[in-house]
């Protein structure tokens, strides 16, 4: 009991306080300057990029992942296909950072095999430079862990759909399309939105992949925060980093709260 609370205090609560207090302190004095510094164009554009990147990959990843989850749910429950895909996605969902960046460089980079294969059929993909841009390559790379994450998160919900609901709809006179519109769809909606929010925070918090892939500039908020560590310390920059970190926590906390609410509703419907 005591070790647990002591540990959490030192390594979780104190860091949280450091961020919160640091966001409002500069040179030992309380200030709102750090928060005001969030209005700098570099920070606002990084925040905007982060939000767009996270939102787009969350929506696209959620839709693709949901289709995949449904397809997998129709396979035999103890079959090899389902086991293999869930294991694969379980690893890929956590597969960020360096290896992921390597993988995409080896595929779409200047000498990547797909780049070369496309070149032989006459399609030039611009030497793979698009891969380093946050609104092109990074989106594709993020999808590589967003889709698997969606499968892992959403599959239990799809499998919670009881065959009786479909059969009851049919005996009452409904077609397959009507089942999805009136029964299956509405039942899955809270789980789907919840999973989408989870995907958003997942992309929003990701640092490693972008850091390993993007070497110039800091187009994303996590990279901006990371920049306050590695760059030559401009006076007070460190505490602006804390303000950015606080902004990030606020966004993530809001989204996670919405997720928790939706998840509770979904679990009431899909009694497992």
């Amino acid at each position: 009991m005591v070790p647990f609370f002591a540990y959490v205090t030192v390594f979780l609560l104190i860091p949280a306080l450091v961020v919160v207090i640091g966001a409002f302190v500069s040179g030992g004095r309380p200030t709102l300057g750090n928060i005001r510094a969030l209005g700098q164009p570099a920070v606002t554009s990084a925040l905007w990029h982060s939000v767009v990147l996270s939102a787009v990959t969350a929506v696209v990843g959620a839709v693709l992942g949901a289709v995949l989850a449904y397809a997998v749910s129709t396979a035999s429950p103890r079959g090899v296909l389902k086991r293999f895909l869930t294991s694969l996605c379980g690893v890929l969902a956590q597969f960020g950072g360096v290896t992921l960046a390597f993988a995409f460089l080896a595929t779409f980079g200047a000498t990547g095999f797909l780049t070369r294969a496309l070149a032989t059929v006459g399609v030039q993909s611009g030497g793979g430079l698009w891969l380093y841009e946050w609104d092109k390559g990074l989106m594709l790379v993020y999808l590589y862990f967003q889709v698997p994450l969606m499968l892992i998160v959403f599959l239990p919900a799809v499998e919670g759909l009881r065959p009786q609901w479909r059969e009851a709809t049919e005996t009452l006179g409904g077609s397959t399309a009507l089942y999805w519109r009136r029964v299956g769809g509405p039942i899955l909606l809270p789980s789907f939105i919840g999973a989408l929010l989870l995907l958003f925070t997942n992309a929003f918090s990701a640092y490693a992949t972008a850091a390993a892939l993007v070497s110039q500039g800091s187009p994303l908020l996590p990279l901006q925060i990371g920049g306050t560590f590695t760059s030559e310390v401009i006076l007070g920059r460190e505490n602006v980093g804390k303000a950015m970190a606080l902004a990030m926590v606020v966004v993530v906390a809001l989204v996670m709260t919405a997720y928790a609410v939706l998840d509770r509703r979904a679990s009431r419907w899909l009694v497992r």
């Binding site: 129709t74 950072g97 360096v98 290896t99 590589y144 640092y207 490693a208 850091a211």
Partner: protein, 286 residues
């Protein structure tokens, strides 16, 4: 009598199968392409021919540690980190969660909140907050990479908590411990001989998640300038990309293989029929 009726259901099932295979094929192509890209890249020599040189080098651990000392140092550090993080995670969580269930149910919301809190704290933010704490860690201990385990325990807290919570939910801790105590067992015996054996699967999956997260961690190590496996791969990627990519691919395939194997071992919980579960949970008010 007419011949076999080719019914609606058969048509539906065929359509469903076709849809499944189409979707799964597309997904596997998308998931497979970058992995194949890594394989292709690591089996290429300067003139563009196939070669297994990188992989045979990788299999020879002796030369690896000689030629790429940073890589082997990073690997060793990451393995230590995995072990330390798992041990600390279990020591912190298992007794606390069990004890809360047994004697202090009022604290369960607090413990849950604290354990899930890191979900709202991105690793990059944790780095910001941990900076002064790690200044002390470096002062009191040293600057070695293995002390990253303190941060990693926080990082894995939500996942480990959920895995263990699911395990504790599946057994009736209170009845089990009361039964054991009525037979004369002390609290230590209850933990070691009754609770832990029943939590085996949950402990195993919590440990697996922890190891996976630890071996894949880059953000914190990189920003604190400590060399673990991922940081070593990142640095090496700038000079000798092939060996670095090969290590990444090997680690990834290894993780998939482990998870795939584990999917055949676990899952006894599924054998509880939905019916018996229904009977247990739904009390008739009449």
């Amino acid at each position: 009598m007419a011949g076999p009726v080719s019914g609606q259901r058969a048509v539906m099932r065929r359509r469903q199968n076709a849809f499944r295979w189409a979707v799964v094929t597309v997904a596997l192509l998308f998931f497979g392409a970058p992995l194949f890209g890594m394989l292709e890249f690591t089996t290429r020599d300067a003139s563009g021919h196939r070669t297994a040189a990188t992989w045979s080098q990788l299999a020879d651990l002796g030369t690896i540690s000689q030629r790429y000392p940073d890589l082997s140092a990073g690997l060793v550090a990451s393995l230590w980190l995995a072990v330390l993080t798992v041990v600390m995670m279990l020591v912190l969580l298992v007794p606390t969660m069990t004890w809360v269930r047994l004697r202090l149910p009022g604290l369960s919301r607090t413990v849950e909140f604290l354990c899930l809190l890191p979900l709202t704290v991105p690793a990059i933010v944790l780095v910001v907050g941990l900076t002064p704490v790690y200044a002390w860690v470096t002062y009191l201990l040293n600057g070695s990479a293995v002390w990253l385990c303190f941060a990693y325990v926080v990082l894995v807290l939500p996942y480990a908590y959920r895995a263990l919570d699911a395990g504790l939910r599946a057994i009736d801790v209170r009845t089990l411990s009361e039964a054991a105590r009525s037979l004369g067992a002390g609290w230590g015996t209850v933990m070691a001989r009754v609770i832990l054996p029943n939590l085996r699967t949950a402990v195993l999956s919590a440990a697996f998640l922890t190891v996976a997260l630890t071996l894949g961690e880059f953000t914190i190590a990189n920003l604190f300038s400590r060399t673990n496996l991922q940081v070593a791969m990142y640095l090496l990627g700038k000079s000798d990309a092939q060996i670095s990519v090969a290590v990444g691919l090997a680690a990834l395939l290894f993780a998939i293989a482990i998870l795939f194997a584990m999917s055949f071992v676990g899952g006894q919980r599924d054998t509880v029929s939905p019916l018996s579960r229904l009977r247990r949970h739904r009390q008739e008010p009449t």
